[in-house]
């Protein structure tokens, strides 16, 4: 029974027998899609006197907005920070694979690299819509090089930079070669000259994230006042919470956040980067700001062997991963908190235990987050969809099942195990 075509001739699909995530709960409602967007069926009925062309039976499953990953360094052997013949093809390859994890939009992330890498890679990674070819690219996340030496983590020291005296984004334009297609920059706000950078980036519509930093709470709050709105992987690569100076972590409960604005924070909920108790503390302190990220590295999805991460080489052996150097360290990995044999932790060798990205997938993170925090299924799903969309200022279009939003969807059972992924209402992956 087709619509009468008074507004559009495009076919209308009605997802029936499903529970949709809407208004922060799972509601027993049908979902209507036309032209890749979610349709208001009441308007369709009364204004157009139309109805669905076809109905898709979801078998009682949960239908939620597709996941949005704002920190993804690579996967399946592709490292976005390693220049290759065709960086665009590498991004496209990963974009296709992550559909299996329910990710329908993402920000390819580049770790600290020399300008030559940025100049080569950035022009090739363009913002583009998702589809059968893969998840949509929302823009690049540039994590570094304007970060703190003490908190560089796995980033290569020799390529770290400071802002210099001129102020404004010129040093960034120099290093990156341009800010087109850039949706987020992670920087350390304690670096001299950061205020004007944060302010100008924010004005340009680039999300500014604080991370890999030794900033104290005042410095962090000042950066938020200039426009910063995100914290890159909370707890990791920053000063630990201290009761007399909470540092960046204190932003979660700061009373100096400008009115009408919110601070979001990334959490790598893989069971390794953050102790579940710490995850719970953050979640309980500021549940609306929690954004699940994978921070997945190129080893995600790979079998055992040697692989490159940025300017480094790592090695995966069975369930362990090391830096491949002159001496292959074989010390057992301390604090092995693997909860799923497919989630591996990548460690620096030579006795240090610096984490550097995960190989968890987004759907694993969502399940682990729900399990560790005890939050509801809607809350867990929103942390991977609504919150990242709000962070990037695109929640009117993505991360939600409100009328008019893009029909990027994931179908899953009650344990949040994925059954299918849709982009613009079209099935792009099925289990």
């Amino acid at each position: 029974m087709p619509s009468n075509g008074s507004v559009s001739d495009a076919p209308i699909t009605q997802f029936i027998n499903c529970r949709i995530l809407k208004e922060h709960t799972l509601q027993r409602e049908d979902l209507w899609v036309r032209d890749g967007r979610i349709l208001d069926p009441e308007k369709l009925f009364f204004d157009e006197q139309g109805y669905a062309d076809r109905q898709l039976d979801c078998g009682g499953a949960i239908l939620a907005p597709g996941f949005i990953d704002v920190q993804l360094n690579g996967g399946y052997g592709v490292d976005f920070s390693t220049p290759s013949e065709d960086p665009g093809a590498g991004v496209a390859f990963v974009a296709k694979k992550i559909l299996e994890h329910g990710v329908t939009s993402f920000c390819p992330t580049l770790v600290t690299s020399p300008p030559s890498v940025y100049h080569k890679v950035l022009p090739e990674v363009k913002v583009q819509s998702g589809g059968v070819h893969g998840a949509g690219v929302l823009g690049v996340h540039l994590e570094g090089p304007f970060i703190s030496l003490e908190k560089k983590g796995a980033h290569p020291e020799q390529f770290l930079r400071t802002f210099g005296g001129s102020g404004g984004v010129n040093p960034l334009l120099e290093v990156y070669g341009g800010l087109d297609n850039v949706s987020m920059v992670t920087l350390a706000p304690e670096l001299a000259g950061s205020q004007s950078v944060v302010e100008e980036l924010s004005q340009r519509g680039v999300t500014v994230s604080l991370g890999h930093s030794v900033a104290n709470l005042s410095q962090a709050e000042e950066a938020v006042q200039q426009g910063a709105s995100f914290i890159t992987h909370l707890f990791n690569a920053m000063l630990p919470f201290h009761h007399r100076d909470p540092g960046i972590v204190g932003l979660l409960t700061s009373n100096r956040i400008p009115a009408g604005r919110s601070v979001f924070y990334g959490m790598i909920a893989d069971g390794i980067h953050t102790n579940p108790a710490a995850l719970r503390i953050a979640h309980r302190a500021h549940p609306a700001g929690l954004v699940l990220v994978t921070d997945a590295i190129m080893a995600m999805g790979l079998p055992p062997g040697r692989h490159t991460l940025g300017q480094q080489v790592i090695e995966i052996q069975g369930l362990h991963a090391y830096v491949a150097g002159n001496t292959l360290t074989s010390s057992p990995v301390p604090n092995q908190l693997t909860f799923d044999s497919r989630i591996l932790n990548v460690f620096w060798g030579l006795g240090t235990t610096t984490l550097s990205g995960s190989i968890a997938t987004m759907d694993m993170c969502v399940r682990h987050f729900q399990q560790a925090s005890g939050c509801s299924v809607p809350e867990a799903l929103e942390a991977a969809s609504l919150h990242p969309a709000q962070l990037l200022g695109i929640s009117h279009q993505k991360g939600s099942l409100e009328y008019g939003c893009d029909a990027d969807l994931v179908l899953m059972d009650d344990q949040m195990v994925l059954e299918a992924t849709y982009i613009s209402g079209v099935e792009v992956w099925r289990k």
């Binding site: 029974m1 069926p41 009441e42 308007k43 369709l44 009925f45 009364f46």
Partner: protein, 280 residues
Amino acid sequence: MRLVILEDYDLASEWAAKYIRNRIITFRPTAQRYFTLGLPTGSTPYACYKKLIEYHKSGDLSFKYVKTFNMDEYVGLPRAHPESYHSYMWNNFFKHVDIDPANAHILDGNAQDLEAECAVFEKDIADAGGIDLFVGGIGPDGHIAFNEPGSSLVSRTRVKTLAKDTIVANARFFGHDLSKVPTMALTVGVGTVMDSREVMIVITGAHKAFALYKAIEDGVNHMWTVSAFQQHPRTIFVCDEDATLELRVKTVKYFKVTHTAHLYSTLPHFPQKNIFLKAI
């Protein structure tokens, strides 16, 4: 008139729904010959709609060849407002059944020319061949649709100003804020409903008891507009025990006896099945 008394709200709603279902099924509507149904809104018919949806989902009842005409709609309330009667009908009925949207008629309270809108509605009813069964409720002040006390008993579809009683009764849907309740509505007239071939009024709850008494035991009076149906050849009043509290014992006893005798008229006509579905 028939007065059908069921024990409680749920049973009364089920009886009414079965009656509607059976009427449609025995009519055997087709693309050439639609069944026309007049429909109410409000808390009274809520359970009745749920039952109709149940019969539809079980495969017993299709609305494919049914045309519906709602009784009323607020003036000036945005159609998408959760308390508009469009929203009510969509959420509680239309979205769950297979009715063709072109056959679901509801007055548009936001029309540019309200009088023209009413005239078109009357014409649409006439074009559809009149109403086969008009289902309605009753207000605490005895009104049918929004035909408030003092409405002409031969009135047609028109704009009405709501009585204080009605506004107060409806305030619960607007956060108990009297100022938020619309003050005007478009409504079918008493005459419009009287023109139907059959009328079924559902009345439940003790707060409606006095209105029911006025409607059927007192005279025909424009202050209690439902009383007009005393002069309709085929009217059924379906109520629960609480709604009969103001009636005379004699009235209630009479209709309880006659109802038992008419029990089988509510049974669905399934010649291939040997099952009799009891109304109570």
